[in-house]
Amino acid sequence: MKILVVDDSATMRRIVENNLKTSGFEDIVQATNGVEALANMAGIELVLTDWNMPVMDGLSLVKEIRSNPTFANVPIVMITTEGAKEEVIQALKEGVNDYIVKPFTKQVLLEKIEKVLEG
């Protein structure tokens, strides 16, 4: 499974990638913002994206993916510090499949991934 991890923090990309690789997900692509993410969407089967990023934020990325017929059905999990109820609702309305508020554990990350892949 090819997974795209989008976050402007190298530390957070590394944490997510470490968690994925130690759980058997080997094919990981990284991007630092929404524009880079869109350029790397070919073959991607799951997107894990931050919300607040420079150049193009995560919510704009979600809108772009959902409006592109080629990628519209790719599952997206948002991983962000934006934890207010209104923000979660907004992200879900834009087409995010699930939502993780930082800080998170490896267990939560894997449970959410499993859930969206089953869905």
Binding site: T11, R14, I15, T81, G83, A84, K85, K102, P103
Partner: protein, 156 residues
């Protein structure tokens, strides 16, 4: 500054260290700061603002503490402050500020937070234009220490 605005930052720091790194950290008694100089070698800074709220939160770490936290977060051992260590301190500060923001929003106090800035150097200073006391909360884990500095002005 009302303690109800400070506790969410303390709790977010404890929660972040526990959840992301499995570290049990202990807050020490807070005090007010009377000089600009920080106590750390590297500091993450986030400002927040809304029409009736302004302030900032700083997480300031001695080099040894920052390197240990970086290793706990990423699994990588480094021996000096690198760009990656700077990034990790910025991200930790971001997660703490975001956690506090969420709790305060649920209490009716909403504001936006800035992207994190990171300052490196011995005896560095951080100036603030906020006309409000700076509360310093020391934290300890194992034999390592770091401090959080919070200042917040709320006009309700």
């Amino acid at each position: 500054m009302d303690v109800k605005y400070i506790n969410p930052f303390i709790n977010a720091t404890i929660n972040t260290m526990e959840t992301m790194m499995g570290l049990s950290i202990e807050p020490k008694p807070p005090y007010t700061k009377d000089k600009l100089q920080t106590q750390g070698d590297i500091s993450g800074v986030i400002g927040f603002a809304e029409k009736n709220v302004s302030g900032s939160v700083v997480l300031s770490f001695p080099e040894e503490t920052a390197l240990k936290l970086y290793a706990a977060l990423t699994g990588d051992k480094v021996f000096q402050i690198t760009r990656d260590v700077e990034d990790s301190i910025g991200e930790l500060t971001n997660i703490v500020a975001g956690g506090a923001k969420t709790v305060l929003a649920a209490q009716g106090l909403t504001f936006n937070i800035s992207i994190p800035s990171v300052i490196v150097g011995k005896n560095h200073t951080i100036n603030t234009k906020i006309d409000s006391p700076i509360i310093v909360i020391p934290f300890q884990f194992d034999r390592l220490r770091f401090v959080m500095e919070v200042t917040m002005k709320v006009d309700l």
